[in-house]
Amino acid sequence: MTSEHDILIVGAGPAGMAAAMQLAGLGLSPLVIDEQPMPGGQIWRASEGARPDAVRRALGPDYAQGAGRVAEFRNSGVDYLPGTRMWHLEPGFQVFMSRDGAAFSRSCRAVLLATGAQERPVPLPGWTLPGVMTVGAAQILLKTSAQIPDQPVWIAGSGPLPLLYIRQLLAVGGKVAGYLDTTPRGGAGRALPHAAAAWRGRGDLLKGLKWLRELRRAGLRWLRGVGDIRALGEERIEAVCYTTPDGQLHREPASVLLLHEGVVPSIHATLAMNCDHLWSDAQGCFVPQVDAWGMTSVEGLYLAGDGAGIAGAPAAEARGRIAALGIAQWLGHRLPEGAEPAARAALARALASRPVIDALYPPPDDDIADEAVVCRCEELTAGEIRAAARLHRGGPNQVKAYTRCGMGPCQGRQCGYSVNRLLAAEYGKSRAETGFFRIRPPLKPVRLGELAALQEGREAP
């Protein structure tokens, strides 16, 4: 493998793979790195793996499509390093990575971040107890290990993913104790203004309606308008508490509780690079600003996929191709006739249903309970963050300095938005104005010994 790559792509999900194949098609040779052991991203995670037939059927055709894409990617001849973490990016660009316990750096002219999204943290009391995890995590277990909760599972939150997972879980013989749906009522009213524009995305929406009918037929215990969810237990979750719209408080035994309140773009790398970001009210997150080709406010730094705003896999692939064309053009290459219009048409199709989905499942904005842990790493509660805010009147970085909130290994990935939400409410400011933590390198922890052995321009092991 050559160490001469002008283009580095971070992430081998739908966006990263599509971009890499597009660039390869143009005769360019990017290097693709990915943290996971296999290509596919989270949506197509482990799609190459063997699995029982029932699981394969339950995961459905959208997932099966991933295996084909991954095979195409593998056959494209693109240089690909799995199990490789990018932990620092310097302007210019110098990219610092680690693989198999060894750190190395590479320079390149353009970087495409296709690092996707993460599930929005759901800071409710007890969410750190063993037995409480995200719906996405449970779905990953189904994909990689054909693994399901061994008892009837509680699912709490909002969005398409809980419905998809419930459907998949029921299809493989899993049991759902109940779905605590936190979606605010009035979804149809919120979605209606976007309905006409979403006509081209009706396929996605009809699929969603089909799921709903199926779940109702399957007798799913579906409680709507639920609030004040908390997980109770000492060494692990033992019960889940919630209130229903009639004001009734309920407590039921639980061994696994899965949470989901939507997904947010991974912004640590773009924040660390000081890219411009805008707050999205519709998705309740900061979104890095990109031009029509996916270039961020930093010259040569591109973004594609859910990292550029949540839009799903088909949009990620289209954005990946567009960013690839943008990079090729930026590096001085001529684009083949028709490549750009085709990619843009695919993107428009993929984005059509998004406003309706965003309107149906708005980001949560209820109060975080004082006793809820906000920073999982440093074990700080919402009450402690509020107290620090009242005492010091500072922004996220000052609260971080004074409390250590966000200083743990996750680098604020699990507390950044909660701190933003708490401080905005405390100071009566907008979420946009309140801002996020300043992101300190490394983006992922690096061992001292690994850094000590860092060599410039060293070959990947």
Partner: protein, 98 residues
């Protein structure tokens, strides 16, 4: 906490969690194996020594940290289980002297 769906044809191998033989299968991450091995936790935290299990399974929560083949604080959701792997659940802060 979790169970693997029966698949008679699937090969398996052994890993060791805190010294105990545990069955793993190709494609399993270490975190997945930890979740289906009682008590389903990865570690006790270095701050409050509270028990934690893998939470996100995609590398962003750092609650699945464990010692793998002597390397401490490994994100086990990003590491595939391999035959003979030795996994230790961390109890509080990692020690820096033997």
């Amino acid at each position: 906490m979790f169970r693997q769906l029966a698949d008679s044809g699937s090969p398996s191998f052994l890993v060791y969690i805190d010294g105990s033989e545990t069955v793993a299968r190709p494609g399993d991450t270490v975190a997945a194996v930890l979740l289906r091995t009682a008590p389903g936790i990865a570690r006790h935290t270095p701050v409050g020594e509270t028990p934690r299990a893998p939470y996100c399974m995609m590398g962003v929560c750092f609650d699945c940290l464990a010692t793998v083949d002597g390397e401490t604080s490994v994100q086990t959701c990003l590491v595939e289980a391999r035959p003979g792997m030795r996994i230790q659940r961390q109890k509080g802060k990692v020690r820096i002297t033997p």
